[in-house]
Symmetry: C2
Amino acid sequence: MSHSANPLKIVVIGGTAAGPKAAAKARRMDEHALITLIQREPELSMASCGFPYYVGGTFDDRSLLICTPAGVVRNPTFFSKAKRIDALVETEAVAIDRNAKTVTYKHLPTGEINTIPYDRLVIATGATPIRPSVPGADLNGILTLHSMADADKLRSIRDAGQVKKAIIVGGGLIGFEVCEALHLANIETTVVEKTAQVLPFLDSDLALLVQNHVCEQGAHVITNNGVAEFIGESGHLTGVKLDDGSELPCELAVIAVGVRPNISLAVAAGLNIGTQGGIKVNSFMQTSDPDIYAVGDCIECTSLITGQAVRAPFGDLANLQGRVAGQNVIEPGSAEFPGITQTGICKIFDFTAGITGLSERQARALGFNEIETATIAGLDIPTFMNGKLLVSKLVAEKKTGRILGFQCVGSGDVSKRVAVVATAILGRLTVNDLANADLPYAPPYSLALDHVIVAAHVLENKLKGRMQGIVASEVKQKLDQGAPLFLIDTRNPDEFEELRLGIGEHLIPLGVLRDRLNELPSDKAAEIVVYCRISLRGYEAAALLQGYGWHNVKVLEGGLMAWPYPREK
Amino acid sequence: MSHSANPLKIVVIGGTAAGPKAAAKARRMDEHALITLIQREPELSMASCGFPYYVGGTFDDRSLLICTPAGVVRNPTFFSKAKRIDALVETEAVAIDRNAKTVTYKHLPTGEINTIPYDRLVIATGATPIRPSVPGADLNGILTLHSMADADKLRSIRDAGQVKKAIIVGGGLIGFEVCEALHLANIETTVVEKTAQVLPFLDSDLALLVQNHVCEQGAHVITNNGVAEFIGESGHLTGVKLDDGSELPCELAVIAVGVRPNISLAVAAGLNIGTQGGIKVNSFMQTSDPDIYAVGDCIECTSLITGQAVRAPFGDLANLQGRVAGQNVIEPGSAEFPGITQTGICKIFDFTAGITGLSERQARALGFNEIETATIAGLDIPTFMNGKLLVSKLVAEKKTGRILGFQCVGSGDVSKRVAVVATAILGRLTVNDLANADLPYAPPYSLALDHVIVAAHVLENKLKGRMQGIVASEVKQKLDQGAPLFLIDTRNPDEFEELRLGIGEHLIPLGVLRDRLNELPSDKAAEIVVYCRISLRGYEAAALLQGYGWHNVKVLEGGLMAWPYPREK
């Protein structure tokens, strides 16, 4: 800790999340350091992730986005009084001189330029939304949801009630959060996604379940079709033209195709940039200049699964990184941020979509070829406690059983299950470890065997060769190709009457299957697919059939509940 | 796997949870084994943990407790048809002959006795509620909530609406579940606990917070006072006399002072019993006879934290153990249950109380002397999303930082946080690992820094010597002993006006503390306690004061929100 006679000079560039966290932590580490926070926007420490909920009307008091829990606005006076941090707002850092160890900044309203010395510097310059470069992109009515000003603008559009139709460009996490917010504002909203699938962090079957849910709620989703052009009149947006030539009328478009790290200051200062386009840092959050740290959306992190650099512009990580940098600027080397497991979650109407670690597609793309997966469906808590549906996919290494990833979607408590598996991945647990985990059980919170444990059981059964699985998209593909699948729905006739796949399946309830084996293909090598509502009975049926010699029996993983294609009602 | 010509003979004794799971898993492992399930009660596979919610009227359809999710009652016909398991109900196993490898059983309604051979046997005989041996214990109106018959009886009492007052003997998990159920049935309910504290798995401050909540809901709690005698008229309960001589009128008493493993069959068969009174098994769930397995409430497990034997009569563990035994009876040695982290959870009115691992008291009692703890209070999700309170205590080894336990209570989402730390303990994670965990963050699910991460941060600050803490009970004790504490509430005057501890504290808001240092004791060694609503500002104040030379400044951990003693409103 420095002596008050010669206090450390700390400068932090960026005042949204990672920056203020670093500054506040530095203050708690050293009461006598001189700490300056430089923020381009007028606000400080905004709860940016709360913007969609303000826009959508979940709450109406804007100040909740910039207040402490005690109700004090986090403005420069607050930073000065409570934290003795000199917070300069509407001020842009324009240059870093690493030799002189100074930062030059400009007060935007006045244009006044000043220079401040630092002993240690933290760069937390964040990221900027990417805007597609298509004709008409500068029309009025095309927004993003990134800054407080964006949130204010979208909220005022909601309150004015004039906009009738909106499109969201990009079917990612933010896109769907904004979609829900606008839908709640009674705006007819269409998400337009250029690729074949929304929510690219999920595997396709699960993404399609979420997409179905969004459409059931009355919003629209278009995939495989990008925005080719924004159309306007008198400078105002009136519609979009899509890649296929079709046109959609709309008065509002929100761009949500990702963000680009703000690295220009760092580049100009000659700091190393990583392979993923973010500022490169070590586990101390130190850049290539040992006196300069970088945190938040402008950097790249290390994946704890692959060891590779990844970008992860999330508010929680920004805070964790800020805390580590805040310690190191006062006591270099005193704290480390080891890396991330790539966890993300998103509320989408009554669904939640979450992931931690790698999807199957990501794992294969990264060269994990010897992997096994299990897709399951089930309730979060018992039927008698009004349990809700979860559909999940667990991904693990075949040889070691190490868990690589977990996706979960549905109306049930996704967040708990993703949090558990995120922690399991952090602990490098195997499927077998998770299969025997001692999780909190009581009916208000879980089934006797929690959803994640069942996922581990199914994956273990597959790893041990006790079950062969097939996922919905594989069945669909085989059927589309005319493969001679023998499909068995093992539910009861009344369940079948109510809802069924309608893909040529045979109804043979589990309870009579042993008596009706003569209805099955006589060829014991025939490809048979069995399922039920969630494929627990399907699994029992498969084990049974294997006991009678059929050796190509596959369980439709997750059963009817994980089937994302049209069903017969 | 056995050949159908000479099928394996599997006998399972016990049909509630662990037994049916073992039998069903064995069937899935081997379609041709002969599997017999012997069950003393008329029902099979009951959702026992759901009994309190049926009694309390959360749901009314009794069959939900014994149905599959598809609505089929799990009776002997179901077991025969769907699983080809011969389930004998109202049938008691009366002897095991290990030499002859047979089980003798009695059909209770007829008294008929038969003997069945086994190749491998699973004992899942469960446990029996302990009944205190005090006068009057056989009066009508004294019940337990353990069997389906108990649930039926208590539900009929609820439906009849005649009982006005009830007492619960025992302030544990089941006691409070029953308390809530009876309270919801409009019965004035008092929990009577012999020891000084309810919920013995928690440390006392957290247990007291739950007790306060129960009392705020209108139920009553008496501690430090056991039931000395049940009082009755004409054979019917009319009240209880307590150890201190006082009497409480009541027409109903429910005993919930724990369970005793049912080991008599195992003892008579000469199987080893463990130090904790349960049947001793290895990680394969094998007893001292390699062809006999035991699972569920009748056994003792291994703590993954201490390596010691512990009893853990919980439904989720019963299922996990049953699954392992079900594999091993078919393929010996094919599956292991490594042990438990002692996780438990309970809904108590609008609160949840959960724990995983060791409380501080348990840890110290087990000889973990070099430990550190952190008690925190905070919201589960942001204020603007209507976040609810959590109060937690994290326990870790000082030297290694290894997490030993986590308790959490409050109206917020306790279950997720307990599940995360249970997984962290399973992975032998340290406080630092948890402090940097990449958990799912979005405002509907978490603060930017989740509650468990904040707990890890506070504990890390303590481990690194950056913060000294003091818990509510220590402050209370010091004040009661007249210690000269200088107490500072660092909140704003309006917050202070609304609610305060009223224990002689000085109101010095954090924002003016630097200007008012002259009001503090001039002795820099004076014991100063600082706090705020949740003690985040308290922590900042402590760091500040340390910066000005006061070196005996302690943060009241969890602040006002974790203070379980009376406060001034």
